[in-house]
């Protein structure tokens, strides 16, 4: 009896463990453990066993039943897991196919450059001002202290619409309009389009963008101008950026300066650098202390108030920082270019 039981248990174990799917497992379970299964048969055969052996055999039968039931559970779990996997495999997708979505376009590189610059000046307490692109002679030149015969006013340089109307050749025109409408302290930056009668080629454009800055208050100094432009240079190009100032000439500032930053491409080393043409410096624009004549033109007390102004060109700098070789691309609407930003 005990031998039969052992033999049966061995057969049952391997049959259960070998069941290849849930159906087979269930058939096998019924065959051995079912209501009229083999184990039940054996249990009924206990009557034929000697009385003193009965408890022992009984115990053995129970233990075998428990063991086999445990195996059934284990196998069932295994098979169920396997089935989930197999079903998932049937429903698989090719995860390497491209995603499906609407296209999200980026900021135009000129606008992105302006945004970056504006962030810095907003942080320094500047508001953003705007002004007309078509100006009259007074705002375009006269109020900016241009002498009546200055070559910049020549029809070769400036676009005229009539005797007294022209396209502004710099955002400085907005300085006057802002100061006319506001008493000091003034702290504004002016992003905008400007126009000069240039022939359009890879590095020139009759339309271009500038960012103008103006700060007028009591006690504004040239040292403040330097500090501000250094803060701007570091904000744009990193903490180790150096800023260079050298004398220049503009009718509306005195003293006037040209300012440059150490080249961001070669960190100012100036070796094999296409961005700075090996000079180590990138010229960003002009700056200076607002000429007292300009302050007087808007009715400010020139003894009480001093101020500085600066102008930064956007196009060339944008080309440098993205490696765009041709200025015309910026105005072309070329989808292939725009989709890179």
């Amino acid at each position: 009896m005990e031998n039969r039981l052992k033999k049966m248990a061995d057969a049952a174990r391997s049959a259960l463990r070998g069941a290849s799917d849930l159906e087979e497992l269930e058939e096998t379970r019924i065959e051995y453990l079912g209501r009229s299964g083999i184990l039940r048969e054996l249990q009924q055969g206990i009557r034929d066993v000697a009385e003193e052996l009965r408890p022992r055999v009984g115990k053995l039968i129970n233990r075998t039943r428990q063991e086999l039931e445990k195996i059934v559970e284990e196998r069932r779990r295994e098979l169920e897991e396997q089935q989930v996997y197999e079903r998932a495999e049937e429903n698989r997708i090719d995860v390497t196919l491209p995603g499906r979505s609407g296209y999200i376009a980026g900021r135009h590189p000129l606008m992105a450059t302006l945004d970056d610059m504006l962030e810095i000046f907003l942080g320094l307490g500047y508001n953003i001002a705007e002004g007309p692109e078509v100006e009259n002679y007074y705002y375009g030149f006269e109020a900016l202290n241009y002498p009546p015969d200055h070559p910049a006013m020549d029809e070769q340089m400036t676009f005229y619409l009539g005797e007294n109307t022209l396209l502004r050749s710099q955002t400085s025109t907005v300085q006057i309009r802002v100061m006319e409408q506001q008493k000091p302290p003034v702290r504004v930056v002016v992003p905008g389009r400007c126009f000069r009668r240039d022939t359009v080629d890879a590095t020139h454009s009759h339309t271009f963008h500038q960012l103008e800055g103006l700060c007028v208050d009591e006690g504004i100094t040239m040292a403040d101008l330097k500090g501000t432009l250094i803060a701007f240079g570091r904000g744009m190009f990193g903490e180790d950026t150096r800023v260079r100032f050298r004398p220049d000439f503009f009718p509306f500032t005195e003293p006037s300066a040209e300012f440059a930053v150490s080249c961001f491409a070669c960190r100012g080393e100036g070796e094999n650098c296409r961005v700075c043409k090996n000079s180590g410096w990138i010229e960003l624009g002009g700056a200076g202390m607002v000429d007292p004549n300009v302050l007087a033109n808007v009715g400010y007390d020139t003894e009480r108030y001093t101020g500085f102004a600066f102008g930064v060109g956007i196009e060339r700098f944008t080309m440098n920082r993205h490696g765009i070789p041709d200025m015309r691309l910026l105005y072309s609407g070329d989808m292939r270019m725009l989709r890179q930003f």
């Binding site: 078509v134 005229y160 619409l161 208050d217 100094t221 501000t228 000439f249 003293p255 070329d334 989808m335």
Partner: protein, 727 residues
């Protein structure tokens, strides 16, 4: 200007290299663009030539001595002028406008154009080649050596900055020099061999027969030095910068002389330059001076001193320079200062910021400025000179005291950025195009003669073809960009631009209005696949959907409506006017076949153009939260078959449905539209609506919903003759 370095070193005591000198000058306001390693044509001489770029206000830097003086100030080293004294017997004789001396006579008729005319007579002149040293220096400076007479005048021009001209005295009719305006139509053959016709605006040097030179620009061939010349008159004059510039510009001639006169030549240089000529003639033994130099002038050319307050220098530059230091720096530039005797009023406390020094605040200097520096007119100009000598790079860096607080964008600026973000998020690339357009664009857009966009401002001298007008619409720029892309074989185009248009007004400056424009064409397939075709086309509904999203994200409360409209540039059946509340904001539609052909596009692009200012006036910066409905909605669908015509637009069906829906109808939308001649019959279409019924306080009963559906179907049948099916 070309500055041969060895020549420059004649006047300053320094041993720094040319490279170092270039750096010093550049940082001191005279940019050295490059250093040319020059060798003479005969191979006998070499030099390093600094090539400088001079700002228009600094005519005084257009000579060797001018550069040397500036360099000496920057380097704080000795500067020596060459010997410019007049040899004995040459001491000048002066007159107001006319002077006769021996067989020479000078008359200035136009004192405004020529405030000073000095001249020197040389006799016994032997015209020959210049000595080698002089020829080499001129060659290095970029002047072609000609003969000793012309070369001496050029040499002194480069050395001192005074343009000179040598006349053959024997060829002057009656030896009489007259400075006057040209007669209209007067002719002059200039030494470049071109016959010039003059106007009354040109200043000329004439003899009694006629013009012999264009004042300050170029001499004439009739009186120029030739091999047999023995008797010479050297002109050294001061001409009005503006007159010289106008003449040079009108005739398209630029000479070394006109370049300098345009930028102002020191009126007190005329005699010194003649003295220098006399000394060199003596040195190279080329002739001898006769009689006193002649000097005709109407004024003394003496300038009033300028008052400088040393405290103001510090106030403006943010420095702490003592008065003594400032005096020294000015002296390096040749500007002499002396303390003013009259006691000054102390400035107010604020005006001493950032370095209050009450003692210095009372000091005033009277600074004498030489006539060679017309750019120094005011106190602030002196302060700039001090800044340059002190060194811009040495000025400290500080930040202004913050008195205005944080910088903020205006409402408009914030909303405009949001518009750009939404448009980009919807898949349109941000574009920047020129503000000009061509008259041809107005034709391409098929605009009638009387539409507003035809009224555009015209540039007097455009820079390029088809850019002669200021744009009155953004469409030409966008459609041209579409055409450009098609030519590059990119047929999927989706671009928008935020930019200004220009509306001429009766008086004054034009009105500049900010517009939003967009163009789209082709398929959006680049980022999707396996989608039905109608979802891939960037067509009217694609663009309209984006406009609807835009209005939604601008939190516009007023009703946004698209009403069928006609527009010259748009397909008559596929154009709509967009309005917000009661205001029209712009147009949307498919371009007409004529416009498509004009811009050479392979497909009918869709465009939109909105007045951004009107649109944004309806926008809100912040969204307002609305509580979620607590109760579930009842949904019903409704299928209508109606005539496919102008009366049965989607908008109309929805309007009628909403009017009839009553208080429970929360929302009605169209979810399917189709035309099927076999099933629906000719000229009919099927439109399916989805309705949801909800009440904020209670759930409508089935009866109430059915009642509302009844009203809706009844109204649709009666008003629009619709066949209605519900389920």
């Amino acid at each position: 200007m070309r500055v041969p370095y060895s020549w420059l070193l004649d006047y300053i005591d320094t041993d720094i290299s040319a490279e170092d000198m270039a750096e010093v000058l550049t940082m001191g306001g005279l940019e050295v663009e490059e250093i040319d390693n020059w060798a003479s044509a005969d191979g006998e001489a070499t030099d390093q030539v600094l090539i400088t770029s001079v700002t228009s206000n600094r005519g005084d830097l257009l000579s060797m001595t001018g550069v040397a003086r500036h360099a000496a100030a920057l380097l704080d080293c000795d500067f020596t002028l060459p010997d410019c004294t007049m040899p004995r017997g040459g001491e000048p004789e002066r007159a107001e406008h006319e002077l006769t001396q021996g067989d020479s006579q000078i008359t200035i008729e136009d004192l405004e154009g020529c405030p000073r005319y000095s001249a020197l007579r040389l006799v016994g002149v032997e015209v020959r080649e210049s000595p080698q040293w002089m020829a080499h220096r001129l060659e290095a400076a970029g002047a072609r050596p000609i003969d000793n007479m012309v070369d001496v005048t050029n040499y002194v021009l480069w050395e001192l900055g005074q343009p000179l001209h040598a006349f053959d005295h024997k060829l002057l009719v009656n030896g009489h020099i007259i400075v006057r305006r040209a007669e209209s139509g007067e002719k002059l053959m200039t030494i470049d061999g071109v016959a010039r016709e003059l106007t009354e605006n040109d200043l000329v040097i004439a003899d009694e027969k006629g013009a012999i030179a264009l004042a300050g620009v170029m001499g004439g061939t009739d009186t120029e030095i030739r091999e047999r010349t023995t008797d010479v008159l050297i002109e050294s004059a001061h001409f009005d910068p503006t007159m010289v510039r106008r003449t040079a510009q009108r005739l398209g001639m630029a000479s070394e002389a006109s370049y300098r006169f345009e930028r102002f030549v020191d009126p007190n240089l005329t005699l010194r330059a003649l003295g220098r000529v006399a000394r060199i003639i003596e040195q190279i033994d080329a002739g001898s001076v006769v009689g006193p130099a002649m000097d005709v002038r109407s004024e003394d050319f003496v300038r009033d001193p300028i008052v400088l307050r040393p405290a103001r220098t510090n106030h403006l530059l943010g420095l702490e320079l003592t008065t003594g230091e400032q005096v020294e720096m000015l002296a390096l530039l040749g500007l002499e200062s002396e303390p003013e005797k009259t006691p000054a009023e102390p400035p107010e406390e604020e005006l001493l910021h950032p370095y209050p020094d009450h003692r210095q605040a009372l000091e005033r200097l009277r600074v004498s400025v030489p006539t060679r520096r017309p750019d120094i007119e005011r106190e602030v100009d002196l302060i700039e000179e001090i800044a340059i000598v002190y060194g811009y790079d040495t000025i400290p860096a500080t930040l202004p005291r913050n008195t205005t607080g944080a910088g903020v964008r205006t409402r408009r600026q914030k909303l405009e950025r949001r518009v750009s973000e939404i448009m980009r998020g919807a898949g349109l690339c941000e574009n920047v195009t020129y503000s000009m357009m061509g008259a041809c664009d107005l034709d391409f857009l098929d605009l009638a003669e009387d539409v507003d966009q035809r009224d555009a401002l015209r540039l007097r001298s455009p820079a390029a073809e088809n850019q002669e007008l200021m744009r009155t619409t953004l469409l030409p720029g966008l459609l041209s960009a579409a055409r450009y892309n098609v030519r590059q074989r990119v047929e999927e185009v989706a671009l928008f631009e935020i930019g200004r248009i220009f509306v001429p007004l009766e008086v004054g400056l034009p009105e500049e209005r900010q517009k939003l424009g967009a163009v789209c064409m082709g398929s959006a397939r680049t980022s999707t696949w396996n989608l039905p075709d109608e979802y891939q086309e960037m067509d009217f509904y694609w663009l309209k959907g984006i406009m609807e999203q835009l209005c939604e994200r601008l939190y516009i409360d007023d009703e946004v409506q698209f009403a069928r409209s006609t527009h010259d540039s748009l397909h008559p059946g596929r154009a709509a006017q967009i309005s917000v509340g009661r205001e029209t904001v712009g147009d949307i539609g498919e371009i007409s076949p004529a416009v498509q052909e004009a811009y050479d596009l392979p497909a009918p692009a869709c465009v939109v153009e909105l007045d951004l200012e009107i649109l944004l006036s309806h926008a809100r910066l912040l969204a307002r939260y609305e509580p979620q409905p607590r109760l579930p909605a009842a949904r019903r669908d409704l299928a209508l078959v109606v005539d496919d015509d102008e009366k049965h637009t989607g908008q109309r069906l929805l309007n009628v449905t909403r009017e009839a829906g009553g208080e429970f109808l929360e929302r009605a939308r169209i979810f399917d539209v189709y035309v099927d001649v076999e099933r629906l019959g000719q000229g009919r279409k099927s439109v399916a609506l989805s309705l949801s019924f909800r009440h904020p306080e209670r759930t409508p009963t089935d009866e109430e919903v059915e009642e509302a559906m009844e009203r809706i179907t009844h109204r649709l049948r009666r008003k629009l003759d619709a066949e209605v099916r519900t389920w």
